[in-house]
């Protein structure tokens, strides 16, 4: 056993967090400041005595907000541990108690006191009228709560949780804490809001009448000649999109892997498209092509002498747009599935006298079944969550996500109605998510582990091959055509009316001038553009960090409740952006966490919307790093934090970069959540573009979209360069000189959820 130096004083980590907590309590402003915290202008606003910017300590000393004082006192309790070993039973017990009580106290005081004194009447009855109110918590409160959380984790580690590892316990506590605060709490608040009546009281009856209303579930389209309920519309569209994207995705996957097609690589590039395309841009292109004054519609009308119609608005247009947008996702999933089938399965079938067609029907297709179901569910979820396309193309075909938006931003501003709609939407997507994880997760076709066979996938039977070629060729051309339309459309003066080419849209949006202060960003789009870049740049590293930490816990650590932990962290993937947006508006509009109208709320929504991307990137590459590397580092005397930093992080560099870029790009393309959260000061590109579409300024909208696509292409291109040049392969080369050796086991991986790197939805 290694000799420990005798402990003098206090455990250094405890000192660190006590100090952080005290800084939060006594130095930084306890409540949120009006101006940006990091400009430090609050130092000039009467700090530390003015109650707006005062630290909790000064507030309490001046007799204001005296209820904050116990938090400060509790921060001093750990000092009682002076001179005690970490193994001392008292050490753990005391820290756990202080951390838990302190954290609970900070949270409780936040929630118990509202805008008008006590939130609940029984508290008023107990303590009397409170002549004071709550403000939104600020950085002081944040540090203080963080300190309690980490003291609690140190205590838990001291009591032997997860092998007594402080870093791991703290990380788990941190991830659980932020996920609870920024995913579960808003959702729960939204659920509660759904039961609020117009008079402001809670009522189950009102909730029931709303959730079973005809507006949602009406069957008018079957019985009479009116539209169906919104929920049915969404469900119908999502099922259609799920089925068709799966079929198209399968066709593309088969072309790449089973036909001997030479240019598979360029076809694979298709899978990158949804990453760089803001979701509604496809919808815009569809309008340009098939709208009332769309190119194809006009041509058709002239050729056949019929009246041009608005047929594309509604189900047909939505279907086309979503198929274009989400087929690449299904392709991405299915290419893994189709490749993952061990070639020896198909070869075995052939040596057993099955013809190509029989092999495909009896072996290949059944083995793809879990992957097909997976692709269907992804398409279903994406379609349900899609907000941009229905907004620009929906017409009279109302779907849940847009209905939620109009409930909040419309004249009615009915948060309860929005919450009810959001619950229905959430039920659909969570149902699909749950099915994907638990039903498909168990249905993996794992046979043997161990060495696999080298081999090649046989080609498809000829008839099927030509069919597949025809479909894929048509769809690929159509996709190219649509993207070309976007590019071309950005130069057209007024589509369908004045088709002359012009730079005016670019000039209007992105003009740069000079004045006495230097560069003058004259274009109308610059403000939202820079805001978007800034927010994306801020949120990307935070997303990557949180994602990788979570991945580290999932791949490398074992602790009780790990599967629930995993489910919780991946859950936000299944929560549609619109739901996140509504729940943030509801939850963070009032103290104790008052964030609406700030840039912080945008950053937070991106972090928690995109966290699963980081987690997946991390899990995927961390599973490739042999565990013995960490173990050898640990046995050589490094602790788990040092191991994470010195061994795992450097090996993960490609994954980090990928997570960074994806979260950056997704932040730039997202629309559904942030359209609820933008403010005049913090407007984002996507919501600005949607605004232009609503004003019928299609030219500007398309030009701006084209610029966004170009920027993201550049970012991704740079990442490819960076990752390509430093490939740290940990995989040993195949022991066979033939093509790659594969195992049947890969099927089980593909049966699980795969990353869908689509736009923000």
């Amino acid at each position: 056993m290694r000799q420990h130096k005798e402990v003098r004083g206090l455990h250094p980590t405890v000192i660190l967090w006590v100090a952080v907590g005290l800084i939060g309590f006594a130095v930084l402003p306890w409540y949120g400041t009006d101006s940006n915290f990091f400009t430090l202008s609050w130092l000039l606003d009467g700090y530390p005595l003015d109650s707006d910017v005062a630290p909790a300590l000064f507030l309490a000393l001046q007799g204001q907000k005296t209820w904050l004082a116990p938090a400060g006192l509790m921060l001093l309790v750990p000092l009682l541990l002076w001179g005690r070993e970490k193994t001392d039973p008292l050490f753990g017990r005391l820290l756990v108690a202080v951390g838990a009580v302190g954290l609970a106290y900070v949270m409780l005081q936040g929630f118990a006191i509202g805008l008008r004194g006590w939130r609940f009447e029984w508290l008023t009855a107990m303590f009397g009228e409170l002549g004071d109110r709550q403000f939104g918590m600020g950085y002081g409160a944040m540090l203080c709560a963080g300190a309690f959380l980490f003291l609690f984790s140190i205590g838990l580690a001291g009591r032997g949780a997860v092998g007594g590892d402080v870093f791991v316990v703290s990380t788990i506590a941190f991830v659980i804490g932020v996920v609870a605060l920024f995913i579960f709490m808003p959702i729960l608040q939204m659920l509660a809001n759904a039961m609020i009546t117009q008079e402001g009281t809670y009522s189950l009856a009102s909730f029931a009448s709303k959730i079973f209303s005809d507006r949602l579930w009406g069957l008018g389209c079957v019985t009479q000649n009116v539209g169906c309920g919104v929920a049915w519309n969404s469900l119908f569209l999502a099922i259609l999109v799920g089925i068709l994207t799966t079929l198209l995705g399968l066709v593309f996957a088969l072309v790449v892997t089973r036909t001997g097609f030479r240019h598979g690589r360029s076809l694979r590039a298709l899978t990158g498209l949804p990453i760089i395309t803001p979701p509604f841009v496809i919808g815009l292109a569809i309008i340009l092509l098939f709208g009332l004054s769309g190119a194809v519609t006009q041509m058709f009308a002239e050729l056949f002498g019929v009246q041009a119609t608005r047929w594309v608005y509604g189900l047909p247009g939505l279907l086309i747009a979503q198929l274009l947008a989400f087929t690449p996702i299904a392709f991405l999933v299915l290419i893994g599935v189709v490749e993952g089938i061990s070639p020896s399965m198909e070869e075995a079938a052939q040596t057993l006298r099955a013809s190509r067609w029989q092999t495909f029907r009896t072996v290949s297709l059944p083995l793809m079944r879990p992957g097909l179901a997976n692709a269907f569910l992804l398409g279903f979820i994406e379609s349900m969550a899609d907000f941009g396309n229905p907004l620009v193309l929906g017409g009279n075909f109302d779907v849940l996500s847009t209905e939620i938006f109009f409930a909040i931003v419309g004249a009615q501003n009915d948060q309860a109605q929005a919450a009810v709609l959001a619950i229905v939407l959430l039920a659909f997507t969570l149902g699909a998510f749950y099915a994907q994880r638990f039903w498909l997760g168990q249905k993996s076709y794992t046979t043997v582990s161990g060495k696999g066979d080298a081999g090649v996938h046989p080609l498809l039977p000829a008839g099927l091959r030509y069919t597949v070629f025809a479909i894929a060729g048509f769809w690929a051309l159509f996709t190219v055509f649509v993207y070309a339309t976007i590019f071309y459309g950005s130069f057209v003066k007024l589509w369908g009316v004045d088709n002359s080419l012009t730079f005016v849209h670019y000039v209007k949006s992105f003009a740069i001038g000079w004045n006495e202060f230097g560069i003058h960003w004259k274009g109308a789009a610059w403000s939202s553009f820079w805001t978007t870049i800034t927010i994306a740049l801020v949120s990307a590293p935070l997303t990557a960090m949180l994602g990788l930490l979570t991945a580290y816990l999932l791949v490398r650590q074992d602790f009780s409740g790990k599967s629930a932990f995993e489910f919780g962290t991946m859950l936000s993937f299944a929560i549609p952006g619109t739901v996140i947006g509504v729940s943030y508006v509801i939850a963070f509009n009032v103290p104790p966490i008052e964030l609406t109208g700030t840039g912080v709320i945008l950053v937070l929504s991106f972090i928690f919307r995109n966290m699963p991307v980081g987690v997946r990137a991390g899990v995927a590459s961390m599973s490739q790093i042999d565990r013995s590397l960490d173990e050898s580092s640990l046995t050589l005397g490094a602790n788990s934090w040092q191991t994470f930093r010195k061994i795992i992080l450097p090996l993960l560099r490609p994954a980090i970069l990928a997570a960074l870029v994806y979260s950056f790009v997704r932040a730039m393309t997202a629309i559904s959540a942030i359209i609820f959260l933008v403010s005049a000061r913090y407007d984002m590109s996507t919501s600005y573009i949607i605004g232009r579409v609503e004003n019928n300024e299609y030219g500007v909208a398309i030009a701006y979209s084209a610029v966004l696509i170009a920027v993201m292409l550049a970012v991704i291109g740079l990442m490819q360069l960076a990752v390509g040049s430093r490939n740290i392969g940990r995989r040993t080369s195949n022991d066979n000189d033939l093509s790659q050796s594969r195992t049947n086991v890969s099927q089980s991986r593909t049966g699980q959820t795969r990353p869908a790197l689509s736009g923000g939805g």
Binding site: E347, A348, T351, L352, P366, T446, G450, D737, N744
Partner: protein, 358 residues
């Protein structure tokens, strides 16, 4: 009850080569071989020697780039796998995970035009043959590795193929099971009189199961013979070293009279079968167990110094340094009392060393 029979046929390769894609390097280079009906022939060699490619060409999973392949005397060179009367047991067994054991075994029969009743009977007979009667309803994932392996064998056997192929069938089994399974395979092959081509890189496995072994190296056949021939009279240094262990000495053939060559190895002179050698420099391969170790001064021995003596239970292992480098010797006499550091003499009994081509 149906009986599984054998339709054993011969396999012949005539100058077969295989190039992958546009590769200029042959995976199999101008190979000619002949497998008689009813025999078990092993393709043995290190990774990448072309043995698996050869097997896959027999199966029809790879097409020969040039040359002719005949099964049962009929030219099958351009027939795909589906149309050849050959079945294969894959390294990973390739059992269809979405089908039960019974469905797996019936799979090939369903495409062979048998009536339903016969399909069932044959599948039952196949499972009985491998001792898995009653396991028909299970899924492959519910079986142990050894059982999966037997299902794969049954699935291939029920088709009564002309040739049965095994691609490293034991590599996914643990060491204890390997010996039993390979004996079972050999037993079934001999009882039914099947033609089997068996690929492995494990020389012990090959020696144990084969009627004949074809050693491959660098896309060509290095030697073709019975296990005993390969072990006792390796054709070259590669075979000598690959099958069992061998000490290779540089020597000199001083004289050849008829079939007997006189070889001088340092101060030792040996009379050995010439095997086509002519006077001049040559090489000698000697198995560690076919070198005797004794007193340093004994006549006709190669002097050396005992560097290491290791007791491994059933025998002693010695490393002796000589003018030809280190020599590895194994002696069953565990009570010899030889100590590391002492001078020794190495003797070469009559049937010990063989001349090999350089």
């Amino acid at each position: 009850m149906a009986q599984i029979k054998s339709n054993a046929a011969s396999v012949e390769f005539r100058s077969v080569s295989k190039f992958y894609g546009k590769s200029k390097v042959a995976a199999v280079n101008d190979v000619s071989l002949n497998v008689e009906a009813g025999k078990l022939v092993t393709l043995l060699g290190p990774s990448g020697c072309g043995k698996t490619t050869t097997l896959r060409m027999i199966a029809g999973l790879e097409m020969a780039s040039s040359g002719q392949i005949l099964i049962g005397g009929a030219d099958v060179t351009s027939l795909p796998a589906t149309d050849r009367d050959v079945s294969m047991v894959f390294q990973s067994y390739a059992l269809f995970p979405h089908m039960s054991v019974m469905e797996n075994v019936q799979y090939g029969l369903r495409f062979s035009g048998f009536p339903k009743k016969e399909i069932v009977e044959r599948a039952d007979a196949g499972l009985e043959l491998v001792g898995l009667t009653g396991f028909g309803d299970r899924l492959p994932s519910q079986l142990s590795g050894g059982q999966q392996q037997r299902v794969a064998v049954a699935r291939a056997l029920v088709l009564e193929p002309q040739v049965l192929l095994f691609d490293e069938p034991l590599s996914n089994l643990d060491a204890k099971l390997r010996r039993r399974v390979r004996e079972e395979i050999r037993e079934i092959q001999q009882t039914l009189g099947l033609t089997v081509v068996y690929v492995t890189h494990d020389q012990e496995e090959a020696l144990a199961v084969s009627d004949r072994i074809i050693v491959m190296n660098n896309a060509i056949i290095a030697q073709d013979g019975t296990p005993r021939e390969l072990y006792e009279a390796p054709a070259n240094a590669f075979v000598a070293d690959f099958i069992g262990e061998a000490n290779i000495f540089d020597c000199k053939v001083t004289e050849v009279q008829g079939d007997v060559a006189t070889v001088s190895l340092g101060q030792v002179t040996l009379s050995l079968p010439a095997r086509g050698h002519t006077p001049g420099p040559a090489r000698l391969a000697a198995r560690p167990s076919r070198i005797s170790i004794g007193e340093a001064s004994a006549p006709g021995t190669l002097p050396g110094k005992l560097e290491k003596a290791t007791y491994v239970g059933s025998h002693l292992e010695f490393v002796v340094s000589t003018e030809f480098g280190e020599v590895f010797v194994v002696s069953p006499d565990v009570d010899s009392g030889l100590r590391a550091g002492q001078p020794v003499g190495l003797g070469f009994p009559e049937r010990g060393p063989v001349l090999i081509s350089p």
